[in-house]
Symmetry: C2
Subunit: 497 residues, 2 copies
């Protein structure tokens, strides 16, 4: 599980060699520790004219204790490379006067929080920010994309390590006019490019917020700004109106009082998920096959949870699981379908058992369990279902026709069930891990392992905790507006569909 | 533009060295030449029980002169690795009896064409096929995915070079039941894995056909089976009910009588598009900037088209273009927005002109032109709009925030305009080229160029003609059911979002 190259590259002599030879330079990623502040420095926030998210975001971040900054007013001392282009008069700077920002926000929205927005000093070196957040919801036409450039250009090189970039937009499919949908869809090219460009552990995401869902963004912004999302980058996230009305009382223990089930919890990613959910206050029912009983008991004891030995492929497994949950807890609030197996072979050399078993464990058993738990009303309003897909389910993989089919199916499960479950106040989402350092990846051939580790914007593999933190974000009572999402935990892997 | 490595790897000594060292082994790709037959050998066709596409596909392929085969009946001499797994009785072979295939098709659908389906010999070496087509529309549950394995397992290693794999499904978003949607979505993991696994120039695609659109598949199947799609692999294509009722009389000259406009036609991909559309019978109006006038005239003369010098970013360009088309032709049937520029810099070092000009040329000018041509009714029912996006618009790219934003916007343009234009009988789609060998890529640094060339399922770059053939498929009068699609021409590049 050790990344000896990364350790070397961060050492004194290693650093010099990496620089001289142009080798991958894996940065140390900031990861969340209990008690950490949300961000490590000030957050620069701005909006294109007409944006509907700047004010609510400013209010919630200020309330969260974040130091907010607004960009400096453009003046004579401004970076001359941002001068007006004479190329196309329709994109001239008069379309985007930063002093206009927020001017079209209704006065009643300008709360006391706005007073804490300190203008950034306009002289000398730009100060370094921990995060750049841009509200692009006001952009209704491709000729009005210029404010994005005006915001990111002067601040691109002044981000603290493990910096955060968040662009906020309107889901293109909800835009009435094609021109607005086009401009909003264009944001994806920008954020994905920034994720590849900024380096030093910076992550970049595009968050599409449905009209009316402005109040549902806090859990997502907290996740994305914090060290919890260290290995999540280049993602497109959609937030809709909340499926339920929960609010966590304590952001450090949002899952207090919640009964959560984690399958495949004896080791690796599953054990990490169990630990993080327990850290966040949940009671965890840790499930795994009887053969993993000892490791499972160790995890359950460590987190003061319950160990449940069960073979999920047994015909009576869903019923037995439901009966256990009903008898002990009367319900289950969060179900994390993490159990999964690989049985790799090219399809020409694969026996039928490998095909059947992978499909059954990774996909069909999830469907059977969901159906029984839902039919018995053990998952009710405020419930959270979380699946584990894979980058292989998105991009396909040689030797994994069975695995990739099952993991693409998990995406289908999330997308098809989300609208059905929304009516019951339940969300469903999935994580799609990329190269995560586990015992499994430690056994890979060296060259393949090194390629997997380096071919992403972080130049390193992720850790099980990175997947677990993403699951915890989905599981949060404050994430009622987050459903139907597939979020990769892959450091913005180059691999994709 | 020459790929010296590929030339070497295909030579006698090169072939030996490539094999011994495990180097990339770029196959020679079959590309279409006028007069070529659709496929180079027999096509194996089967369906999961209940499939609605096997019969119409068998009928159209037989009419097209293709030799169809049905898989051998499972018997005692069948590959023992496909024996029934005792893992899960719900997926036992009784669920999938190949003798059932087509049994639930209405008798009136079993036309004379079915008689030409010759059972494959079940003894000895499996015969080699040019293509494998599987109709998976009958699969309504993840526990019924096994027929895919039963079909591909025994035939995976008996495909001719530049083989073709096509899986037919139902668009998940149109499935009523979540379980069906899940199983149909799972197909994507299978086809993308097959594309990475089969090698030797094999392409693999997933074609989702909407219920009721069974009669609209011919242009797409012809494209995917032929050498026209040499560099298209790992794609997901959606076919709906046709927006219009055209049928080409001659598949060799489907665009006869059509007026087509190609922007950026003086060189590279644009010139290739102009040539292929002309080969398919179209009159081509080749447009480029005045500075490229000489090269433009050469292309136009070669294809007996018209050269039109115009700077698309000029304020009066849409009007002048519309007036030219109205005066000379009274209409335009096909518009290919190929003109595009790059002005690469990281956003921190990019001047505003680079941002503005790329957005304007690559995205906003397309919108302005479309709007004017549509407002003046110069594009009418049967019309085809084709955009050129890019893999950078999907995945983002370092140093291309401007370009990637513009090319992601092209995707938004296609997706937002498709439903609007469908009502007028017009389709809109885009190609997204990956690494295509042009003068531009020839100037790339060697290492970057080699990485781009090899990191795909074909282990080589594509050619401008590959993009052009894809555009010609969109442009075909028979492609009325193909709209809102973004199809990558990238050899199934590893790069993705």
């Amino acid at each position: 599980m050790s990344d000896r190259y990364a350790t070397f590259a961060r050492s004194g002599p290693g650093r010099a060699l990496v620089k001289r030879l142009g080798l991958p330079d894996p940065p140390s990623l900031r990861r969340h520790q209990p008690g950490d502040s949300l961000v490590t420095g000030p957050v620069l926030l701005d909006a294109a004219p007409g944006g509907r998210l700047r004010e609510p975001v400013a209010a919630l971040l200020t309330a969260a204790g974040v130091e907010l900054r607004a960009p400096a007013t453009l003046g004579a001392d401004h970076d001359p490379t941002t001068a007006v282009s004479d190329h196309d008069p329709t994109t001239a700077v008069s379309d985007h006067d930063p002093t206009m920002v927020g001017a079209d926000i209704e006065p009643t929205m300008v709360t006391a929080d706005s007073a804490t927005v300190v203008p950034e000093p306009s002289m000398g070196q730009p100060p370094r920010n921990a995060a750049l957040i841009f509200d692009a919801t006001g952009i209704t036409d491709s000729t009005r994309l210029r404010p994005l450039y005006d915001f990111f250009h002067p601040h691109a090189r002044a981000l603290l390590p493990s910096g955060r970039v968040i662009v906020l937009g309107t889901p293109p499919e909800l835009c009435a006019a094609p021109r607005e949908a086009t401009a909003q869809r264009a944001l994806e090219g920008l954020t994905r490019s920034i994720g590849k460009e900024f380096g030093r552990g910076t992550t970049a995401q595009l968050v599409y917020v449905a009209p009316g869902a402005e109040g549902a963004v806090e859990s997502t912004l907290r996740f994305l700004l914090s060290g919890r999302s260290a290995y999540v980058s280049g993602q497109v996230i959609r937030i809709g109106q909340p499926t339920d009305q929960q609010q966590p009382v304590d952001w450090e223990r949002p899952l207090a009082g919640k009964v959560t089930l984690v399958t495949g919890a004896a080791q690796g990613i599953g054990a990490a998920i169990a630990r993080v959910l327990a850290r966040d206050g949940a009671h965890v029912v840790a499930l795994d096959v009887p053969a993993a009983g000892e490791a499972l008991a160790a995890v359950a004891n460590e987190i003061r949870g319950t160990a449940l030995q069960l073979d999920l492929t047994a015909a009576d497994a869903p019923t037995r699981l439901a009966e256990h949950l009903a008898a002990r807890h009367g319900r289950v609030d969060v179900v994390v379908h993490n159990a999964g197996i690989t049985r790799d072979k090219t399809i020409g050399r694969m026996d039928a058992t490998r095909w059947d078993s992978v499909l059954d464990v990774n996909l069909s058993s999830q469907e059977r369990i969901n159906d029984v738990l839902l039919a018995r009303d053990l998952i009710t309003a405020g419930g959270r279902l979380v699946g584990v897909s894979s980058i292989a389910g998105i991009a396909g993989n040689r030797g994994q026709t069975n695995y990739a089919t099952s993991k693409a199916g998990v995406i289908g499960l999330v997308q098809s069930m989300a609208p059905v479950l929304a009516g019951r106040g339940i969300t469903i989402n999935a994580v799609a891990p990329g190269f995560i350092e586990t015992n499994m990846t430690a056994r890979m051939p060296t060259l393949l392992r090194e390629a997997g580790r380096r071919m992403n914007s972080m130049a390193q593999g992720g850790r099980p905790v990175d997947v677990a933190e993403t699951v915890a974000w989905f599981a949060s009572p404050a994430s009622g507006g987050v459903t139907g999402n597939i979020v990769r935990v892959c450091g913005q892997s180059l691999l994709g569909a």
